[in-house]
């Protein structure tokens, strides 16, 4: 039964994964997301999912490859340094077309960095991360509710497109407690004739590989992947607009920073400034076209990207705006969450 609960983001996403029919989880503890594996460990006796605390993120992501390839609905979660280690497996799964859900509860970097919230892994998430020409679908939840909703969506998209799907969250969204509507558990019935479950007499053997040693074959594989990405671009872009219909100054923000910007927009409106928030929900595929259309509106004076990093998504905003309007950036780094006051000030400075 659907129920309203007060839950921490990390625990809510773990509960959501159980309810979405997750059959196996592999992970390695890392702050600020260790509550996921802890929650799953406590709940394990009540369910029949596989749970392994792996020896490393590298092992975890490859267990994901094996079990996802064997047809199970599978998930791993980690935080920034751990996700760097997982890039190997993500590239292989993208090429071998193995569906899985990945969660990166981002902390400040680079290097060992901090354990505080950050959006510094945007490039890594949306521009590939691992080697080769691939993308994963990237969702940017901005609340505990979306941690839950996006897990359900991520599993669906992974199965639909046979691809890894990622939640790019942040330390605050993982750690904070909010009211959440927890959906009813679904009964998951996998339909995966491609999975390596044992070759029966009625079919050819199933091979999952990312190796195509002849360049012509490898190009064909790439073309297949690119055709799939085109389909995803056409069908899966998601975003939220808040007071953009008459906005002169459009602030673009995703995840946690979008909630700060929402407050700033409200304050601006009180002060008679026509601010609006554009929030990409899918970070890949990115809503370039929609932002491009806004940029073409005469009333719009500028865009500003507000991020918890040195300016990463702003590059996609610039691509979308394509020189039609100025694109500014404001951000804090290293685990610092920008305050509404300093964000508002940064916007007003650009108004001149």
């Amino acid at each position: 039964m659907a129920e309203v609960k007060l839950m921490k983001g990390n625990e809510a996403l773990a509960e959501a994964a159980i309810r979405a029919g997750m059959q196996a989880y592999f992970g390695y503890p890392i702050t600020p997301q260790s509550e996921v594996i802890e929650y799953l460990a406590v709940q394990e006796p009540k369910h029949d999912y596989v749970l392994i605390q792996a020896e490393s993120e590298l092992a975890a992501v490859n267990m994901l490859y094996g079990s996802g390839g064997a047809g199970a609905r599978v998930m791993t979660t980690t935080s920034s340094p751990g996700f760097t280690l997982m890039q190997e497996g993500v590239s292989y799964m993208a090429c071998a077309e193995i569906p899985c859900v990945l969660v990166n509860v981002v902390r400040g970097g680079p290097g060992l960095g901090t354990i505080q919230p950050s959006q510094g892994d945007y490039f890594q998430a949306v521009k590939g991360g691992g080697h080769g020409d691939y993308h994963v679908i990237v969702l940017g939840p901005n609340s505990v509710q979306e941690m839950v909703d996006h897990i359900f969506l991520a599993f669906e998209l992974a199965d639909k497109y046979l691809t890894p799907v990622m939640l790019l969250a942040d330390g605050a969204t993982g750690q904070m407690m909010e009211k959440v509507m927890m959906p009813q558990p679904i009964e998951y019935k996998p339909d995966k004739p491609w999975a390596t479950t044992g070759k029966t007499a009625d079919r050819e053997r199933n091979i999952l590989t990312s190796l195509y040693i002849q360049p012509e074959d490898m190009e064909q594989r790439n073309l297949k992947l690119q055709a799939k990405y085109k389909k995803i671009l056409a069908n899966e872009i998601r975003y939220e607009e808040y007071m953009t219909e008459d906005a002169e100054f459009i602030i673009v923000a995703f995840g946690l920073s979008s909630r700060i910007v929402k407050n700033v927009v409200l304050q601006g409106r009180k002060d008679g400034l026509k601010l609006g928030l554009f929030r990409p929900i899918t970070l890949w595929p990115y809503p370039w076209d929609k932002i491009g259309k806004l940029a073409a509106e005469d009333r719009v004076k500028f865009f500003m990207s507000v991020e918890m990093n040195a300016g990463q998504m702003v590059e996609d905003v610039r691509l979308a705006v394509c020189g039609k309007k100025p694109v500014h950036f404001f951000g804090r780094m290293g685990g610092i969450v920008p305050t509404p006051e300093e964000t508002y000030l940064a916007i007003k400075e650009k108004m001149g």
């Binding site: 196996a24 792996a54 092992a59 079990s67 199970a72 044992g198 053997r205």
Partner: protein, 255 residues
Amino acid sequence: MKEGYELIYKKPATLTERRFSYCPGCFHSTIHKFMMEIVEEMGIQDKTVGVCPVGCSVFAYHYLDIDMQEAAHGRAAAVATGIKRVLPDRIVFSYQGDGDLAAIGTAETLHACNRGENFTFIFINNGIYGMTGGQMAPTTLDGQITSTSPYGRNVDTAGMPLKMAEIISTFDKVAYVERVSCNTPANARKAKRAIRKAIEYQMEGLGTTFIEVASNCPSNWKLTPEESLKWLEDRVFPYYPLRVFKDIKKLKKEE
């Protein structure tokens, strides 16, 4: 069948029609054949899932007519763990070389064995990196010349060749460990028996099973296939003895 002829040997139906890409004299072909004979004899083609490594046997799935997954270099044990845990009633094996299992994938290998993952390792140890052209492996012998140890392996800087069967046999949850070879018909038959035993132990759910094949690499050892067999006897077996290192059933009897 021609009149007057009698069929006394054929390849198992569980091997595909594709020709092996392995060099003449290499044991990969022999071990592939044994494994698929076992799959055919036991009638487990529909229950068997294999994991290929990165190395000469990276294309094993071209030849073995079973469901297979190609793992990243060194990660076959983690991939096999993932498969076996969600399909516990299937027979799962990882097929790995020494660079894969004992260098880049040592952590995955040891932890899978320590957890007692109920799948079978087939470990082809030929003491050299074959596919990349004959570089030093974690199992290259003291003084052995390779393209990255051109003056012979210097154990003072490169360390000693790793004895994986010996190491793996120390794990409590490992059920069966044997080192075999295929240098003589008798040894080849023993190798097949060992693989079959490992699969049977796996089917009984006894824990990790680990078969190390003291293998050869005529091409990169720069020896003829026949000379490579002599090298095995003279140089490899004294350091890597052929024997059973652990058999959980025998241990239980002794208790």
